[in-house]
Amino acid sequence: MSEQAKTKISVQDLHLYYGQFHALKGITMEIPEHEITALIGPSGCGKSTFLKTLNRMNDLEPNVRIEGSVRLDGADIYQDMDAIELRKRVGMVFQQPNPFPKSIFENVVYGPRINGIRNKAELEEICERSLRQAAIWDELKDRLGKSALGLSGGQQQRLCIARTLAVEPDVILMDEPTSALDPISTGKIEELAMQLKKDYTIVIVTHNMQQATRVSDRTAFFLLGDLVEYGDTQELFSNPKDERTERYITGRFG
């Protein structure tokens, strides 16, 4: 970890069980502020599961049991925080773009609305600011009243990012945000992520090694519910300490 960076999220010995299944086996990890942390690893190793523990989306699944602690700015998110409040501070972007079947404008201002903002001018301002931050304002400014479902996949995903930004979270979790997108849209989202890290802490799951090396500052390699290796991205890819990491990043592994 770069010395000056402050820890945003601190995970201590985190275990997660789906019923009998031990999906996360004691993860300990410090996620620094204003950096992009990539989670990589073969399918089923627990990347999404881990990501969801960071904003308690796992609470929505039945039969999930969690041990250990996750601290956001020092506060235990499972003990000291309400899940609803937590999710306003730790936003999430999903693998499949999932805009609501509402207008573009209503999608972006959904979060502000549920937080009690009614003033139309204020909502419009938030909408513009969020769409600009998501680098999609120019494309959408003339069709804010149109259905969000009419957008392309890449536009939908950036709209979903704008929708998350409108809530003004501290942390943005992205679960394979580009896996459903074409290379050009993917490039735009990657650029966007690198822009956003000035103001946000980003954790991104990816199956794409190039993507991890392109965008992330730090990389965590998961395998079968274990965190095998975690460190500076350049370091991890050029000089992996664990043999399993090396095999995975060189493509000789699941």
Partner: protein, 338 residues
């Protein structure tokens, strides 16, 4: 639209299973190609299709025939007996001459029309909030017991014959209204008819609305929770708007059922040929009046014709409902106004 909705929720699944399904189909058609003759295909392909097409055509012809029959009979009031449509719709002078050839009576059906509108409207007002609430409960709040207990229970309600509803209304509701409100004319009233209708259409609205709510893609809910919504916010800001066309369809189906119901209403409405003064006074409606008098009027006479005209009106109203349902479901969740 429907299929798009489904795809949204099950995309991963569909993609995962398609190759296997395709393979199976391929191998099956190979087997057939090697063994079966052209005659086999003809029988298999065209015979089935022919029967299905025939049945479909039959239904269409039957519906058209009923429509034409009603049109011919129902317009007799205006063509043969020279009453005006305005008189039929807005006059309350109901005194048609009940002989085969006589004429000159009044055919104002306003009382019956008002009775139908009033009882159905009230029933809808009373039960829609409950139905939507129940639909939300069985899908979003308690989906497990909703599926196992609530839904079958609600579906049983659909199958109860209307005479049973009417009878219960007659023996429980009517005396209850009489004892509680002490209306002058006894408990037979608009209120009793509305409550009976409300109970009867409850399962229709509830099950259709529940289906619509259930088919809302989970991705919308997840997005909502991810933005810090409470469960209630997810329900009323995301799920309900996304399923509103399905819910509207349920409401209209319920309304259509209420409009067409004769027996149960006839048993509790009091069958009084006068506008109701308030909710506790008796009145009459289209269906109950038709059911009560259709067998007693001289065929082809003025009174008989006037009843046919009322039947035609019911037919047109139900056509309107069907039309509305198509209009609404044509606008699936994928379209958003403005």
């Amino acid at each position: 639209m429907e299929s798009t909705i489904l795809n949204f929720g099950t995309q991963a699944d569909a993609a995962g299973h398609r190759p296997a399904a395709l393979k199976r189909e391929d191998s099956m058609s190979n087997v057939h190609a090697s063994k079966k003759t052209k005659g086999y295909y003809f029988r298999k392909e065209y015979l089935g299709r022919g029967i299905a097409t025939g049945c479909g055509l039959f239904i269409v012809v039957l519906t058209l025939a009923i429509g034409v029959f009603l049109l011919v009979r129902g317009t007799g009031t205006f063509t043969r007996f020279h009453h005006s449509i305005l008189e039929f719709l807005f006059s309350s002078d109901w005194s048609p001459v009940d002989t085969a050839t006589g004429s000159g009576g009044g055919v104002g059906a306003a009382v019956f029309i008002a009775g139908s509108l009033l009882t159905c409207g009230l029933a809808l007002l009373m039960i829609t909030p409950f139905s939507i609430g129940a639909a939300i409960f069985m899908t979003e709040i308690a989906p497990k017991s909703g599926e196992k207990i609530f839904r079958p229970a609600v579906e049983i309600f659909v199958g109860i014959p209307s005479v049973v509803y009417g009878w219960i209304g007659l023996t429980v509701l009517v005396p209850w209204i009489k004892n509680v409100f002490h209306p002058k004319m006894g408990g037979y009233s608009v209120l009793a008819a509305s409550i009976v209708l409300a109970v009867m259409i409850f399962p229709t609205i509830t099950t259709v609305a529940a289906d619509a709510i259930r088919s809302t893609p989970d991705a919308f809910r997840k997005a909502g929770y991810g933005l810090g919504s409470t469960r209630w916010q997810v329900i009323y800001r995301i799920v309900l708007p996304a399923s509103r066309s399905g819910i509207m369809t349920g409401i209209i189906l319920g309304l259509a059922r209420a409009f067409g119901e004769a027996l149960a209403v006839a048993m509790v409405i009091g069958k009084t040929r006068a506008f109701p003064k308030n909710l506790l006074s008796p009145t009459n409606n289209l269906t109950a009046e038709i059911a009560a008098d259709m067998g007693n009027t001289a065929s082809g006479g003025e009174a008989n014709m006037a009843l046919w005209t009322m039947a035609l009106l019911l037919f047109l109203i139900s056509m309107l409902f069907i039309f509305l349902i198509h209009l609404i479901s044509g606008k699936g969740i994928l379209q958003v106004e403005n």
